[in-house]
């Protein structure tokens, strides 16, 4: 045999910068060169951590940790055999000998060099700009500095009213500062938005409590009188502040190219060709440091496209970067903003249509060509519902309708809905991952048959998520065209809807999951169909849910009769019907919480939640609660939660009925009822509605003559006011109607469908439900009442049953072979109570306890 014994010579690729784009490049190169192992990758990273998600940087202030934002970690790079160094800023390039050198003097040889150095915030040369509390907003370290400064500040100013400036202003506001935005230009977001849009944006943002100062040039930063600093403007006015954040644009990190003779643009940026090569063939530049066709792209999607092109080119494949669309849709401080294409109508001959609704804070403009046949751009403030459609018109040069204004006018009856079919195959559906309609078509040709499949095989909608609705529409419509029924199946194991399974269980008298699976399903089941079946079995037969045959079916919350928290501990919520509690019972709650060191909070449902119980502590805690007369609150179940009450006629000077007694009666009647989703009630003693009954699934408001019944209200993600079902009911009729309504919902609702959504999807809506319940139009009222009676009659406190069942209790032991506790659960103290330690506060367990020196206050388990 004649095997060349020498190792294959690998191409040495050195990547300078490990931002979002640099990391994406590494990912692409690893993936593309997978089988061949022909490249050896080295990543040099100036920051002290590997790549993280800068786009979602602001979420750091909303509680996300650096780990949450991380896009990779050391282990992953090691697995990929990627060499890397952090805190390694490159300061020298030797093109002739092919190496780079870091500030520390370490050299790395390359065959191909990739510059992905991104950009840095521009700080205008204002005297005083280098003072201690003058900061920028770009990296996690910047955010730490802002946080630290904000802790010692009351007022904050952002200099720069562009997109990033407004995002930074929002962060300052969230940090509790009185916030100002100072903008040099006469309007906000001048790049994306026109003057009219800017005006509206300003007024909306001011309504949110952020003061906006436009047309202000800052001359100087000096000591303040009331605050730390004072900004002096060219027009003589002044503004006092403790903290200053510069967000006056970004500048490409092109210093390496500048110093080591690569061609750069007139106003900066490393010049690249369509293959992302710089003026030196062996050196590439990608992302925000690169200048393509005299343009720098300040968004991540074009950077990703460059990364892909460069990776392919290095592996010998020809691909072209051909520019990218800069349209954006975002929510700034809760204000919807959209900008598409030529927002400023700069194209010669272009014409505009504008719609402004000041009372509602909506501004929309479209820019069309002189012939009024194509869309060139758009600005949307306050309502971006037309963004997707408009973007497709622009990107795909789709012919405009006769009167283009109908695209943005509200109430235009003939508003042309842009059917998905109208999109050409080249239409970009997901710009983050560059997925076109054609890509989705071919994925379906290759067997994808659901939105989930499309997401897995094309990655569509796994970036910013902005395209989720469009991806679903396109996929569903394409599938329908092919005669694929868009399935209502609950999961791959059952070709049935929840309603069908409910009927099957009832009619065939099925009592276990195994029976149902073997007669109507396939496979072994999953986390969707198992809890669903458990819920149906409980609704129909009301067996003990931790019965041996049901145990494996329950969601973890039902399974341990408590709500799992983020660290694997549980919360304990005893029932406090109607929110009424005796002082003695309140003391018991306090004593139990103290004994087991549980975090204690009053919930939004008028009861008390005790958090941080380890799985093995649940039985003893519940034993004490039950001994004191408490019972389970079903906070873990898709079942009745709470019946909120107000004090009503027993105390309140306005009350006209005894709302507390009614609330307690209802809570005790329906407790334990399992349903498609959770159910909440409230009872108010008069029309002042202190119990907020109209936001509940079942809401009851007292009248002089009895009770008004409201149905299908919802708080939560999509609030819905309850519909007035009927008025002035006596106690007995009230209960009869509620029995029927709830049981009808239990019989017909979809999985995880609250009553509000159920009502919205009920054909015939409210009047149909009134017919069924009041007129008994389906002749099922008796049956519904009987079903409810079975449930009410067979109620048991699941915790009481569990405590009497040694077999069930065994499962609360954390380990089958040890009496130890889970050492990974760690608490720290905050406001005199425990809370789970954040990642950065954790101490490594077992690693020699005596070595922990910077010790956070760890609270010992009881």
């Amino acid at each position: 045999m004649n095997i060349d014994n020498q190792a294959v010579v690998k191409t040495k690729v050195v990547v300078v910068g490990n931002g979002m784009v640099g990391h994406h490049f590494v990912e692409q190169l690893v993936e593309l060169s997978n089988s061949e192992q022909t490249v050896e990758i080295t990543v040099l990273c100036a920051e002290s951590r590997l790549a993280y998600d800068r786009v979602h940087l602001s979420e750091y202030f909303a509680g996300k940790s650096a780990e949450d934002l991380a896009m990779t970690d050391e282990k992953t790079y090691q697995q990929w055999q990627v060499n890397f160094a952090v805190d390694a800023k490159v300061s020298h390039i030797d093109k002739a000998q092919g190496f780079v050198e870091t500030e520390q003097g370490k050299r790395y040889h390359y065959d191909k060099l990739v510059l992905a150095t991104g950009s840095y915030p521009f700080v205008p040369p204002i005297p005083g700009k280098d003072r201690e509390h003058c900061l920028v907003y770009r990296t996690i370290d910047d955010l730490d500095a802002i946080q630290a400064s904000a802790d010692k500040s009351k007022v904050g100013v952002v200099i720069g009213g562009g997109l990033l400036g407004l995002e930074a202003a929002n962060a300052l506001k969230q940090l509790g500062l009185k916030t100002h935005v100072v903008e040099f230009a006469p309007q906000l977001m001048g790049v994306q938005v026109d003057a009219g849009g800017g005006r509206l944006l300003k007024s909306k943002i001011e309504q949110l409590g952020v003061q906006v100062h436009t047309s202000k040039a800052t001359n100087e930063i000096v000591d303040g009188e009331h605050c730390r600093y004072k900004l002096c403007f060219s027009d003589g006015s002044e503004l006092e502040t403790d903290l200053i954040l510069f967000s006056a644009g970004i500048r490409p990190f092109d210093n390496l190219a500048r110093e080591f003779d690569l061609v750069i643009g007139e106003r900066g940026g490393i010049v690249i060709n369509n293959q992302c090569q710089t003026s030196d063939n062996n050196i590439y530049a990608i992302g925000e440091c690169a200048l393509w066709s005299n343009f720098i792209f300040g968004l991540v999607a074009p950077g990703y496209a460059m990364a892909k092109v460069a990776a392919k080119h290095i592996l010998g494949e020809e691909q072209h970067f051909t520019g990218a669309d800069m349209s954006t849709k975002l929510k700034l401080m809760g204000v919807d903003v959209g900008s598409i294409g030529d927002a400023h109508a700069k194209t010669s001959g272009s014409l505009c249509y504008t719609y402004e609704n000041q009372p509602n804070g909506v501004y929309k403009k479209i820019v069309v060509n002189a012939e009024k046949t194509k869309l060139l751009g758009a600005v949307l403030i306050g309502d971006t519902s037309e963004y997707d459609t408009l973007l497709q018109y622009m990107l795909n040069a789709i012919d405009l309708p006769e009167s283009p204004e109908s695209l943005i006018l509200p109430m235009a009856a003939d508003k042309p809905a842009l059917g998905v079919d109208a999109l050409p195959d080249s239409a970009t559906i997901c710009s983050c991952h560059n997925v076109t309609k054609g890509d989705i078509v071919s994925a379906i040709d290759n067997g994808a048959c659901s939105v989930g499949d499309i997401k897995t095989c094309t990655k569509a909608s796994s970036g910013c998520g902005g395209c989720t609705a469009l991806v679903k529409n396109v996929t569903d419509s394409l599938l329908e065209q092919r005669g694929v029924e868009v399935k209502k199946d609950i999961c791959e194991h059952f070709a049935h809807s929840r309603r069908e399974l409910f009927d099957i269980v009832k009619v065939e008298k099925i009592t276990t999951f195994e029976q149902l699976l073997s007669s109507h399903g396939k496979g072994l089941g999953c986390e969707v169909c198992k809890p669903l079946t458990a819920s149906i079995l409980a609704s129909v037969w009301n067996d003990y849910i931790l019965d041996k045959s049901h145990v494996g079916l329950q969601d973890t919350n039902d399974n341990y009769l408590a709500n799992m928290q983020k660290d694997g501990t549980y919360s304990v919520v005893p029932r406090i019907a109607g929110g009424e509690i005796t002082p003695d019972k309140l003391i018991v709650l306090g004593e139990v919480a103290k004994k087991y060191n549980l975090y204690t909070k009053i919930t939004g449902g008028q009861r008390v939640d005790l958090f941080g119980a380890r799985v093995e502590q649940l039985p003893p805690i519940w034993q004490e609660l039950i001994d004191a007369g408490f019972e389970t609150g079903h906070a873990y179940g898709k079942s009745l939660r709470t019946v909120k009450s107000c004090v009503g006629s027993s105390w309140c000077r306005y009350g006209v009925q005894d709302s507390i007694s009614m609330a307690i009666l209802l809570e005790n009647r329906y407790k334990g009822l399992r349903a498609p989703h959770k159910i909440k009630f409230a009872v108010s003693g008069c029309t002042r509605e202190c119990a907020e009954a109209q936001s509940k699934d079942i809401g009851i408001i007292a009248t002089e003559k009895g009770w008004n019944l409201y149905v299908c209200g919802n708080g939560g993600m999509k609030p819905r006011h309850g519909d007035l079902f009927t008025t002035d009911l006596d106690d007995k009729t009230l209960i009869k109607y509620i029995d029927r309504i709830l049981m009808f919902y239990v019989n017909t609702g979809d999985r995880l469908q609250r009553t509000s959504v159920w009502m919205d999807n009920l054909e015939g809506g409210l009047s149909y439900l009134q017919d069924v319940v009041i007129e008994d139009s389906l002749q099922i009222a008796d049956e519904l009442e009987k079903q409810m009676q079975l449930i009410v009659g067979s109620y048991q406190c699941e915790w009481k049953t569990t405590l009497a069942n040694p077999q069930a209790l065994k499962r609360f032991k954390p380990f089958v072979n040890s009496d130890k506790s889970d050492t990974n659960i760690q608490f720290v103290e905050e406001r005199q109570q425990i809370r789970p330690a954040y990642q950065h506060e954790r101490i490594a367990v077992n690693i020699a306890e005596n070595r922990v020196t910077q010790s956070p206050k760890i609270v010992e388990p009881v």
Partner: protein
């Protein structure tokens, strides 16, 4: 039911040995329990293993790491078990990602947990560790 089991048994067992962790009767059918592999070396964290009993499958007993690398908590044994296509899986009780019981691989993300070869000897559950 004939779902394929594909556990690869390591060919070289030199450094590894079978360790009994519990009895068959400690398992809960169609559900999970957790066992602790205590480490003699005190500087190393004890290993937690999630053990699942699926009586309707060929291999019957499966063992994977208990730590959910996505939710970052020791909870996998408290998930619901089942199948996704040909894969036997547990769904994390925190955020519902599926982990293969046979390989430890997460089906939704490029991340995996350890998996342990299991055998049953005289009603004892043994892991190769």
């Amino acid at each position: 039911m004939s779902l394929k089991t594909v556990t690869q048994w390591p060919s070289s067992l030199e450094d590894q040995q079978w360790q009994t962790v519990c009895q068959m009767e400690d398992l809960i059918s169609n559900s999970g329990v957790c066992a602790l592999l205590e480490q003699s070396d005190k500087t190393v964290v004890d290993e937690q293993v999630a053990i699942f009993h699926l009586p309707d499958t060929e291999q019957q007993v499966y063992a994977i790491g208990n730590y959910d690398p996505i939710g970052k908590a020791n909870v996998l044994y408290r998930g619901i078990v089942g199948s996704i296509g040909e894969n036997l899986v547990v769904a994390s009780p925190l955020f519902k990602q599926h982990f293969s019981l046979q390989t430890g691989q997460c089906l939704q993300q490029d991340i995996s947990v350890k998996n342990y070869p299991v055998r049953i000897m005289n009603q004892q559950v043994q892991l190769l560790v």
